[in-house]
């Protein structure tokens, strides 16, 4: 398991930031509009170092738009939008990817014509210039392949020949090879079988245990609320509710979260 660089926990640091550590991702009043249509209408949340934060909500709520704005793939406006203290506004997607922020977009989008191993090599692109040597990379590769053993068997195979669940695993593995400090996932369970979904959720838990913060957008409300420190419910571009792990067993509340209270 590679050690990802985390926030230094020096005594001074703890003193200045009191109880709550500086968030790794800080989003304040984010809006995204396509032409005249507002998709995200002022969303505020944060992700602490090593935290798992969930976002759930119905189709068209603005979940993907939020993530794409964070990743620089669509233009967003915000009072504050920082990753590890640096503003993400106006930065190119490749710059953001190279700063330790990895997005696995909705629908995974692996390179079907390239081999599994070439897909994984592309994941390492964002890692370049990070100063961590070859040994660090070898350890990360080994860790990722242990997380997704099926990929090791198919390294030489065109990625397009993998099953949907395997492609999703490949997309997450590819993102992890950039050694991100924040892994952002957009509906990783979409279209997967129950067993494949379990594999993905287990992998997400393992990533978090390794110290990486995770922002997880999902439709599988119950599983997400149970796993996340906080789960924000998004509806029509706004956060309508925030749930904690204890709410995962409250079926009525989850249903209300989706229907809008």
């Amino acid at each position: 398991m590679p050690e990802y660089p985390t926030m230094p926990e020096s005594p001074e640091n703890a003193a200045t930031s009191s109880a709550r550590p500086e968030p790794i991702l800080d989003v304040q009043n984010l809006t995204v509009a396509y032409g005249g249509v507002t998709a995200v209408a002022g969303v505020t949340f944060h992700v602490g170092p090593g935290e798992l934060v969930g976002i759930i909500g119905p189709n068209g709520a603005g979940k993907s738009s939020t993530l794409l704005a964070l990743a620089g793939a669509v233009r967003g406006k915000a009072d504050r939008l920082t990753f590890e203290g640096t503003s993400l506004l106006g930065r190119k997607p490749e710059q953001i990817a190279r700063s330790g922020f990895a997005l696995v977009p909705e629908g995974h989008h692996i390179f079907g014509a390239l081999s599994v191993s070439d897909n994984l090599r592309l994941g390492e692109v964002a890692r370049h210039g990070k100063g961590r040597g070859k040994e660090g990379l070898a350890a990360t590769r080994e860790w990722v392949l242990e997380l997704f053993p099926i990929l090791r068997e198919f390294l030489g195979r065109p990625a397009g020949l993998l099953s949907g669940g395997q492609q999703q695993q490949l997309a997450i593995a590819r993102a992890l090879l950039s050694e991100p400090r924040l892994l952002v996932l957009d509906e990783p369970s979409l279209g997967l079988s129950p067993t494949a979904i379990d594999t993905v959720f287990e992998a997400i838990a393992a990533v978090q245990r390794a110290g990486t913060a995770v922002l997880l957008v999902e439709q599988r409300a119950q599983q997400t609320v149970a796993a996340a420190a906080r789960t924000h419910v998004l509806g029509e571009g706004r956060i309508t509710m925030t749930l904690g792990p204890a709410d995962a067993t409250d079926a009525e509340l989850l249903a209300k979260a989706y229907l809008g209270s």
């Binding site: 490749e94 990817a97 997005l103 390239l114 070439d118 692109v125 890692r127 370049h128 950039s178």
Partner: protein
Amino acid sequence: MTSFLQALIDATSAGAVYALAALGIGLVFGVLRLANFAYGEIITASAYTLIIVWPINPVLAVLGAAVVGVAVALLMNYAVFSWLRSQSAATLLIASFGLSILLQRIYEGIFGANVLSASVASGLSTSVNLGGVRLNLLSVVTIVLAAVLLVGVQLFLTRTSIGLQVQAASADFRIARLLGVRSGLVIAVTFAISGFIAAAVAFVLTVQSGTVGPSFGVQPTLFGLIGAVIGGLRNLRGAVVGGFVVGVALSLLTSWLPPEINPFRTAFVYLLVIAVLVLRPNGLFSAGAGKVRT
């Protein structure tokens, strides 16, 4: 039999030239969805360099042609196409048309409307005797040069990190950027390689003709583009094969058509294009149009 073999080698060599042109055009189309008509003017710039510098110093001429090809390609990218990256494929195509005509007028202004002549590498225009078969040396050199460049580009695309990034950007630019692929760098590298390939095409064609004029590069670009369209612009291997087929067809038509209809041989090539596009209408703009590249 001997003449058949000679015709075959000559056809292969003609195919190799257009395969190279299709490769240069197809590489850029892959990342930018740009069918670059102005590719011909990169060839022309390298050809002028060869014709002018060769009498002074042949080595300098070859190096200079390569440098000029790469430089003109990069200049096109930074001066024109990098501003249009988020535009539709149609806009890019029209821009490349305009750029092509503009550059031809500039060449005319600098070098005049008439052709410049010099014999470049005249040693290659001789025939060699290979086991009783007389072969045009230039044809053999052309085939070897094309093979080396094709293998080189293939190794670059599959064995280097930046080559893999070019492949990723060609498949899906948006996703490639989310993985940290630097869009500007990938596009510039692609233009540079296509410029180098244009210089190779210029070399073969100037040795063949010994002359260069303002519209020197138009014909090879047109046939390279036609080949790439036939083979499928989105698929680099297909584009190269398409260019090769066009060259072979042109060359064979030249040797086999009766003299009275030989002037119409290009018409037959266009007939071939129409037939291919009707049967496989996976035309120029069917895929990737309007993709966001910025």
